[in-house]
Assembly symmetry: C2
Homo-oligomer: 555 residues x 2
């Protein structure tokens, strides 16, 4: 009798369930549910206005994802719920919420319905930036050793700046809160009745280390006297490695979802990190790039190294038994979207329309006729700052080489090339610091939709690129983790590597570097590197000074 | 009885006559004639194809300008031709043609009708670039002193590269040619029967110096043995200072134009240089910028100085008795045209249309709401290389500071600002090398049509800007020179300064620097200068290397 697994992927605007065959990862059914409250960045449901940079969600929407999509995929696939052996969940991160001791979100209480700090703070909630700045200053001044594990900087998107914001702005919410936790872990709690935290978000987002634990009390005290005991007060919970079982579907969850009581549930995970087994990555040296509006890079190693500018290194943070490294580029798909929205002529839009192409396809059709370097252009891909390896949000975009004959498709291609140079910079930095990168895997929309972009990437990074084959990489990854939570005794797998090898999916197409292109791109990458260092490492801080003037003049 | 003067301005696509009152420059009539042959850049009239980079004209068209526009303005104004005391002519330059001893163009001879090198080589004929390169190499290797007067480089647009091309490619044309001269001087010859050459084009385009004459024979011999005597063989003719009389209308010209025999004719002039009296410039320290697709800067001084990167310094080259300096920016209006053609979204075109504005007006309306520096952008205005002060056609455009929020109007404004920084760089370079610039005048379309651009220029160069008031600056300038050729005895003027003061025109509006803007623009100009030197003076020759790769990959 075939066995099945369900992966549930909570995105920014919707949640999705995917039901797959445990033997081979075959997709039997999928269902999507758009969050009714979406991203609340202007007002609460009660119409109370939110200040700029806020981004909240309502956890009620997450429960509805469970109650709607899981029954839908069971029904659509026509299988017996008894044959579903495991469930995995991944989520955006760092996406956190304050809850009571029984798991009730504070925003569900009448008392806090109109209090923004009682809601879920979504990953892209940026209103704690001043807290992040203060935290980084104090961490640097007090020589916190853990800072190096995060490229020297803690993001305003992560746990402690957001927690500090709650304390500072809404001390009563903070007081009434028993736990502050990732939405991923909260969902697992709802499904199993067990509160446990996953090592991935604990490590990458909450400054937790398997040996050293959280930062010392002195450090938290220096932020705010009441934060001295923040870990005991609000984060007090065991941490489980990825690949382990969090618990089993309880009666509440069974009635909500139609799953059977006792079905294994994996510990929570993050959408990027969970994709690794979905592309069959089975060990160190194999970098995965999840390419969307931005790109996230995940890489395993057997050693813990300090790599400048990475987003974090966490033991058990991706696969148990390995150190998981994360790096990122903050502007990839967003970059191309900016370009087509702002800089492509009406003539091109009309031509695209009459050719029956969307504007990206039309530009690609024109750009793929060019040879490397034929445009004479080079760009620095910093329209949204540089995450890895410079960790500097104040850097901005640059393009050089325009003439009166420069065409939009040439600029478009130059922007794609720029993001590929950025990826090569990340790969080389890992290698230079003792973390090998021997293979390269890509998933996400761009990797599946734009062969020209992927060939450019292969030519620039000089490593063949394999493309994830699942229609929904994160959901498949979650389903794979679900089978490991179930274990081989009941038809699942005993470890994530084996499960990924069986259930992961790659396309047949591999993009291999074209030798004559790599010769030219090596030259262009040398130019990129010179500009990267000149503008990014302090020789000429013109980008930062321009930003200062911009701020001053925008007041 | 009122007296009148006619100015005839030969442009790239048409010729224009303007009839004005000598007392005050009042415009009474104007007439335009489009050259029937236009610019021949693809084929000769006989359909013979032309190679790339050629740009020829047919001198027959010039004669038709005389025979059509002069009678037209006399008729339209209703005045008596006896009251027209002077005629002036200006032309594009360097625009040259080979002629027989009697002035007959070689292309008029049946024998050479199908020979491209027998036609007028228009200023933008660029097919002699390899000759210019060789000439510059030899000049540098043999330490020619005159090279410094031209910013260290002779352009392929100028006389000797074009003459050398005739010799090399069509030795028979060269053999049969008695004179090679500027079209301006040929027109004067047609009007007066007298061959004389103007000191302006002789100096700026034919490497002539009032004291030293032409370059030495040794130099020409090093180019080609037959060029050793090129000056005696083909340029042998007296040179007259600007502001002097070339001769008088002869019977041929009278019958052609309806002017009276004996009417004074000024020596020929160049369209940019002739505009100086039309804006009332009456002495040293007053820079005129003629702003069109490119910008040309003209400045008088009492001293001959070597200024790096200027286009030339010529005694009597603008006004008699002064050293005339020329500098230039190779991409101004062209820059903005490139931007709106390639980089402005369909949405903006539609919005402009529904507001009843052209796209430049629409972008300006949006851009003028911004404060200096508010966009966070800086550009280097080198889309078409840098003429002054770097004299380097291999430099290319750069823009820095983009974010995902950058809008087209911000880039548009940054490009305008970039050209203004380029102008400030030219002004400062003159000042640093002993040529004062105390006042600034602008003429040409941009100066009259775009108040935002002119305010930006004033704020950046920190000098008030006066705007030429004539509808046709060059034609008015030619008419003014015509009155000086006539002299005061018959109702004209005895010198160009007096004539310009009376007949020149300025608008009432003066753009004065706004103090709070100059503070910000000083900071931004410092950033521009740092980038200018980094990319333009050899610290990082990335632009040139990219061009090399581009050439290689375009083969």
């Amino acid at each position: 009798m075939a066995k099945y697994s369900i992966g549930i992927d909570f995105g920014t605007l919707s949640g999705r369930a995917l039901l797959v065959n445990v033997e081979n990862g075959e997709e039997l059914a999928t269902a999507v549910y758009d969050y009714p409250h979406g991203v609340m960045d202007e007002a609460l449901p009660c119409k109370k206005k939110l200040p700029p940079d806020w981004a909240l969600q309502n956890p009620k929407d997450y429960l509805e994802v469970l109650s709607i999509t899981i029954p839908a995929v069971i029904k659509e696939s026509g299988i017996d719920a008894n044959d579903i052996i495991g469930v995995g969940v991944d989520f955006t991160a760092c996406t956190i919420l304050p809850v009571k001791a029984d798991g009730t979100p504070l925003c569900f209480l009448d008392q806090f319905k109109e209090e923004p700090n009682a809601y879920v703070k979504l990953w892209k909630h940026h209103a704690a930036q001043d807290k992040a700045n203060q935290l980084n200053e104090i961490a640097k001044a007090t020589h916190q050793e853990w800072l190096a594990r995060y490229g020297g900087k803690i993001s305003s998107e992560w746990v402690f700046p957001k927690v500090w914001q709650i304390l500072e702005e809404s001390p009563e919410v903070y007081e009434q809160t028993d736990y502050i936790l990732e939405a991923a872990d909260w969902i697992i709690w709802q499904l199993t009745g067990v509160q446990t935290r996953n090592s991935c978000t604990a490590g990458y987002k909450a400054i937790w280390h398997k040996q050293d634990g959280y930062p010392p009390k002195d450090f938290f005290k220096a932020l705010h006297p009441r934060l001295e005991t923040v870990v005991e007060d609000k984060l007090n919970c065991p941490i489980s490695p990825l690949g382990s079982k969090a618990g089993e579907i309880n009666e509440f969850a069974a009635s909500l979802t139609g799953l059977k009581v006792g079905t294994a549930v994996a510990v929570g995970n993050v959408d990027a990190h969970v994709t690794v087994p979905a592309v069959k990555i089975d060990g160190p040296g194999k970098m995965l790039a999840i390419m969307g509006t931005s790109t996230c890079h995940i890489l395993l190693s057997t050693k813990e190294q300090t790599v400048p500018g990475m987003c974090g290194v966490v033991e058990d943070g991706v696969y148990p038994g390995f150190f998981g490294y994360e790096a990122g580029q903050s502007c990839v798909g967003d970059h191309f979207a900016w370009f087509v929205e702002n800089c492509v002529s009406a003539e091109y839009y009309e031509a695209a329309k009459s050719d029956g192409l969307d504007i990206h396809q039309y530009l690609t059709k024109k750009a793929e006729k060019q040879k490397p370097g034929q445009s004479g252009l080079i760009a620095l891909d910093w329209w949204n700052g540089n995450r890895s390896i410079l960790v500097d949000v104040d850097l901005t975009g640059l393009i050089v080489g325009m003439t009166l004959h420069t065409k939009p498709e040439e600029i478009y291609r130059a922007l794609i090339e720029a993001t590929a140079y950025g990826t090569r910079k990340i790969i080389e930095t890992f290698r230079e610091h003792g973390v090998p990168v021997d293979e390269f895997y890509a998933s996400g929309g761009i990797s599946q939709k734009n062969p020209m972009a992927m060939q450019i990437y292969a030519d620039i990074i000089k490593v063949p690129i394999k493309i994830g084959g699942a229609s929904q990489g994160p959901a498949l990854g979650s389903a794979i983790f679900g089978t490991v939570a179930a274990g081989s005794n009941i038809g699942g797998y005993d470890n994530i590597i084996e499960a990924g090898r069986k259930m992961g999916k790659l396309r047949d197409t591999i993009y291999s570097p074209i030798p004559e292109n790599t010769v030219i791109y090596d030259q262009l990458y040398a130019e990129y590197s010179a500009l990267h260092d000149y503008f990014g490492r302090g020789t000429n801080d013109v980008m930062k000074r321009l930003k200062e003037i911009k701020k001053l003049q925008s007041k």
